[in-house]
Amino acid sequence: MNKEGVILIAEDDEGHFELIKRSLQRAGVCNEILRFADGQETLDFLFVRGDGPTREHDKEYLLLLDIRMPKIDGMEVLEKVKNDPELKKIPVVMLTTTDDPRTIDRCHKLGCSIYIVKPVEYQDFAEAVRKVGLLLSVVEVPQIDGMLKKKGVL
């Protein structure tokens, strides 16, 4: 992932967010990290609405998405993102405590990149996120509303 890319973390549990952030940084990920406390904030940012921060053009984003969140849950966020012709390109990693096979099946059908169940033990959780970070350091991520689109190449 390009150094300019931004990692979006939709996570209502502040403790989990801090752990995720620290573990990514421990894996050498030095990208900007933004947190959203619920699905509504995440969608407002991505669909550029509301009074809060919104996304910028020409940027790369990757989303780590929790499922159980207030207001709008992660499944709905995933569905909205993957139904948008431009936002669908954003890789979405589900990171959740939910281990229900139907939920996992549904998320993959909707188009999540990968589904990870949060380990219960603190150390295991930190280690899992560190390995997510190792993966992020080797993947390419597309720009959203980037130059290629403006130039009509895409």
């Binding site: 993959h108 990968i114 990870i116």
Partner: protein
């Protein structure tokens, strides 16, 4: 990822296949790995058109897909997978030498899970696959059953 899940590699370069397999093993990936030399072979396997294919009744699969391959290329393979109601659930990770932004864009638009550029440098290529392997070996990674509801 549960050991029942099978890793499929579609890659025409035998040297790259060996390197990928070796480095996945080094990062403790213990899943079965099946290899396919071109797009036709992998599609025959996935769509069960090949009598000799060892396609299980209900399998959990994850595909590592090269783009430039003989007969049918990776783009066409991804397109057919993501058009199929069941196969679309399978995570597809692009592993290619092509690093053009337009390709990255196109493959994410088509629904790949991740796009990884094979570094030209041998050591860096090994490291990249090791990082991928460390991730895939995570116990928490869940891959859905194709042709049913369930997980590996």
């Amino acid at each position: 990822m549960n050991k029942d899940a099978v890793i499929l590699i579609a890659e025409d370069d035998p040297g790259h296949v060996e390197l990928v397999k070796k480095n996945l093993w080094r990062s403790c990936v213990e899943n079965d790995i099946l290899q396919f030399r071109n797009g036709q072979e992998i599609l025959d396997f996935l769509f069960r058109r090949d009598d000799t294919a060892k396609h299980g009744e209900k399998g959990c699969y994850l595909l590592l897909l090269d783009i430039r391959m003989p007969k049918i290329d990776g783009q066409e393979v991804l397109r057919r997978i993501k058009e199929d109601e069941e196969l679309k659930k399978m995570p597809v990770i692009i592993l290619t030498t092509t690093d053009e932004a337009i390709e990255v864009d196109r493959f994410y638009e088509m629904g790949c899970s991740f796009y990884i550029v094979k570094p030209a440098d041998y050591t860096k290529f090994m490291e990249a696959v090791e990082n991928l392997g460390a991730f895939l070996s995570l116990e928490g990674v869940r891959v859905p059953v194709v042709d049913g509801v369930g997980v590996c």
